[in-house]
Symmetry: C2
Subunit: 367 residues, 2 copies
């Protein structure tokens, strides 16, 4: 009970910490989102900061440098356990101990195996009081992509689609411009800004010739990824111009790689061990992606779900009736024989964008 | 401005009137939903009532009988213009004049051509002050089915379906039990209680063998209607037992009516001029239906929409992924070539039933 009350008192400051952390959403990969607040010994705010970009100072260091000598005897609040290893920047635990901070309040332990409790131990051994678990659930939610990548070796996958009220993602003739409204399409740009990569299949490149950028909403445009088995790709796609954003073409051993010779040099081309969403996401994790967006057609989307490469769904439901017996639907076949086999979803949030209803769901096995 | 203020003062009482009217939702057809409130000359509540069932006293008469002599010099508030014709009960205008009421406040004029302004004229000619248009929009919404039937000669049509997140109403093997949750299915029972008829096609009878009742939620179970062109109907359907509710089988001139001989005698069988939703709804309007519920498959639903027999849609969206390339979707083909041809919907309301999201939409050309 004592511990719970102790935690409770830090909740308002930890909310501020989470808010600070979220300011860099989509910009910090492969690092997590981290915010920090320093209170002096009288619990007055004397410093705050957040991690803005991989290679830039960690949140704790930002906040400590703002606090200066006022940190002595004070409290550091941070949403993720401070690191205790040398990365691109020195360990944060060193800076904390040096500052004379006497209490550290943490939301959630770092899942990175190089830290994972070691940061807390080191601080406690040095005589610093450590309170853990303040707004833990909220902090896990904020860094769900980073945590998932650390646990599985693959980035967190978001699958989005725009669908009419009668479950169609296109007309029988393939036309899909535009099922969702302007506000929804703008929302997709900001969604891309929060992701490290956007993935499509070859068919989407052939039919839609998409640009797949955040339209400048992100300082760091997501990597545009084409996963193709046929490598039957058009010569003049918008994706081959890598000035707006980098492009990666992935394929498997069964593909005829000579087809790539006719494409421009801009995009990176990578042969995967196997042409599969799973192998692709392993590669993208190695490339530093915490979170990826699937903007593909129904076949690739279905395989991605089957290979546990989708953790979250964003449905843009448009108040229109399209009809069309042969019209495209968002997913292909799972082979279910009974409704009880269906994949269940858990609601994260729902909101409106113009006339559209946007439903954000979690695949039930996650979080 | 004077008139607007005059109306404004009656709004709270008119809300009470609309609430009273709504108490008999689904029970009054072919009559409208009507509530009435009587205030005495000091504006104190002295009587109220609502029309509970066709053949029962009108709301005005109920309220006047409660008010007795206190009605003299008082105000009657009623959501629909009082009738001035002899129906199953005497004209309400007679009772109003007899009571000595000096002011009548009305939300909306009666669309019934036998009334339609004549009731107001008659009252004014007799020296009664009449205020019209108080909460008119809300009153039109409440009686949209009655008004639509008076304007078109066909009942208001509601189409409902339960759909997975990926736009499926069944698995490829036809299994659909249950896509929506328990709470949604209970909601469908109360939806049936608010309708005068429930319509399915022959295929739904063959595959689902549905009961189509409100499970006793309505004092007057809706008429269960089967519209079939093949008349290939099973001998042992639950619908042929007409103890729980009446059943009507409709077919067109091209059908082989001799197939009906093998069916039990309970259901009424009617040959339509043409096997079409439009002709069926004309018949159902003649039978006193104000509002009908389409619980049919995609082909009949699509034809019903094309023939302007659907004004409102209720989508039960279930947080599940079913997949299935050949799985059923809610609607068949409209033949649209461009998204701009799509039928647009306007949101009426949205709510939750258990885990499901229920979206109530109006086809854009109505209300």
């Amino acid at each position: 009970m004592k511990t719970d009350l102790k935690k409770h008192n830090w909740v308002p400051w930890m909310r501020r910490v989470l808010h600070l952390a979220s300011l860099a959403y989509g910009q910090t990969s492969p690092n997590p989102l981290v915010g920090a607040v320093i209170l002096d010994s009288q619990k007055r705010l004397v410093g705050e900061g957040y991690h803005s970009f991989a290679g830039q100072p960690h949140a704790e260091v930002e906040a400590l440098s703002q606090a200066g000598s006022s940190a002595k005897g004070g409290t550091l609040l941070v949403n993720l356990e401070p690191c205790c290893h040398q990365g691109r920047t020195p360990p944060c635990t060193d800076a904390i101990l040096k500052s004379g901070i006497s209490r550290v309040v943490i939301a959630v332990n770092d899942p990175d195996p190089r830290v994972s409790g070691k940061g807390v131990d080191l601080l406690r051994q040095a005589g610093v009081e450590v309170v853990c678990g303040v707004l833990e659930k909220e902090a896990v939610y904020l860094n769900r992509a980073f945590i998932f990548r650390n646990q599985t070796g693959r980035p967190w996958g978001i699958l989005k689609w725009a669908m009419s009220f009668d479950g169609r993602i296109a007309l029988p003739n393939g036309s899909s411009k535009w099922i969702s409204g302007l506000e929804s399409r703008e929302n997709v740009h900001s969604l891309r800004a929060r992701c490290d990569a956007v993935i499509v299949g070859g068919r989407t490149v052939r039919i839609d010739n998409p640009l797949l950028t955040s339209r400048g909403l992100s300082k760091k445009e997501p990597l545009r990824v084409v996963l193709s088995s046929s490598l039957d790709l058009p010569i003049d796609s918008q994706l081959w111009d890598t000035k707006p954003a980098k492009t990666l073409i992935c394929y498997g051993p069964e593909s005829d790689a000579s087809l790539l010779d006719s494409l421009p040099n801009g995009p990176e081309k990578v042969l995967l061990e196997k042409n599969s969403p799973f192998k692709l996401l392993e590669l993208l994790a190695q490339k530093g992606c915490n979170q990826v967006l699937w903007e593909c057609g129904s076949n690739l989307a279905t395989t991605a779900i089957q290979q546990d490469c989708v953790q979250e769904i964003l449905l843009f439901l448009s108040p229109k009736l399209l009809g069309g017996i042969s019209a495209m639907t968002p997913l292909a076949d799972f082979g279910f024989e009974s409704i009880e086999e269906a994949i269940t979803l858990k609601e994260l949030s729902s909101f409106r964008k113009g006339e559209d209803i946007v439903l954000n769901m979690l695949l039930d096995n996650h979080l």
